[in-house]
Amino acid sequence: MIIIELFITFFKIGFFTFGGGYAMLPLIQEEMLAHEWLTIEQFLDIVAVSQMTPGAIAINNATFVGYKIAGIWGILATTFGVISPSLIIIAIVATLMHKFSDHPYVEAAWQGIRPAVVGLIMVAVISLGREAINGINGVIIGAIALFLIAKVKLHPILVIIISGALGVVVGLV
């Protein structure tokens, strides 16, 4: 049955991809083409649209394919499929983390890991920044956004909305 096949395929995608985002693309592409659920053009369109809508590429892809193949039930099968492996693993890991959180070795390890994660976030900023802030318009909008979040202390959602509006203004001038 197609619903079960959709679920199993997206479960596999959820289970075998580490790192999320672009790391998932090759596996998703392979599965979609092998099942003939998408053409390569449709797949590339979804990737492009994902950059212009909120939400993860994997969820967007799951929604699009599920809807196209089997309507609302298809969406349920694909999105629940891609989420399920994480749900199971996180329930186990969170319980273990809680259980061992008081152990001195664990706390000592976190003292090294926490500042390392700050470095991880900065690497994400650098690699996203290379793509996203190109040209003088990007630099100006980025500088205004920094002022709004750091000095005016606006809520990040407001800063996103204002920056989008600035993008439109600058783009149309």
């Binding site: 991809t17 950059q51 212009m52 500042p115 390392a116 990007g138 909008i141 750091a150 989008g164």
Partner: protein
């Protein structure tokens, strides 16, 4: 301590889901603002721990963060509330696009809108990282881990899971020798 309501978790993550543009890291500033700074349901340390663990778990960063935070705050039902909230906006938008065959990527208005949004998202992630860094980088010793992570990933192209594992091991060897563990915070 008052119990966190599932409905509140759902609504917060619904809002975050509508504004997570450009990948899982774009959630960080929103979660930091809503759950750490404003409501204080998570400490900055909890949040960094969750980001670290998620690197080693398969799946989507945005989904995993929602599941993990929801599970930590309210168990399985909390995890489901958060993941439903974060997923509904993209599911709704993509269904509309699929139904009406909207061609967003060739629309000049949408393209310039996203020029602005993308530039902004980088900046607000930076700001969230900076704020978390102020709490996590408490000494020259901890700065070593931050710098090591950046060099390991950017220069040596190592996978973050390996570097997080290394940071943990070095942390165990350097932090458990003496009493300094408890004094390091000051």
């Amino acid at each position: 301590m008052q119990k966190i309501r599932l409905r509140d978790l759902f609504l917060i993550f619904l809002r975050i889901g509508g504004f997570t543009f450009g990948g899982g890291y774009a959630m960080l500033p929103l979660i930091e603002k809503e759950l750490v700074e404003e409501r204080k349901w998570l400490s900055g340390q909890d949040f960094l721990d969750i980001i670290a663990v998620i690197q080693g778990i398969p799946g989507i960063i945005a989904i995993n963060s929602s599941l993990f935070i929801g599970y930590k705050l309210r168990g399985i039902l909390g995890a489901l509330s958060c993941v439903l909230g974060i997923s509904l906006p993209p599911i709704f938008i993509i269904t509309l696009i699929a139904e009406f065959l909207l061609n967003l990527q060739h629309n000049a208005l949408i393209v310039s809108l996203f020029t602005g949004i993308r530039a902004c998202v980088v900046v607000i992630i930076f700001w969230a990282g900076y704020r978390m860094g102020k709490k996590a980088i408490i000494s020259y010793k901890s700065l070593f881990y931050t710098v090591g992570m950046v060099i390991g990933m950017m220069v040596f192209k190592l996978h973050p899971i390996i570097l997080i594992g290394l940071a943990g091991i070095i942390g165990i060897f350097t932090n458990t020798e003496s009493e300094e563990l408890n004094h390091d915070h000051n």
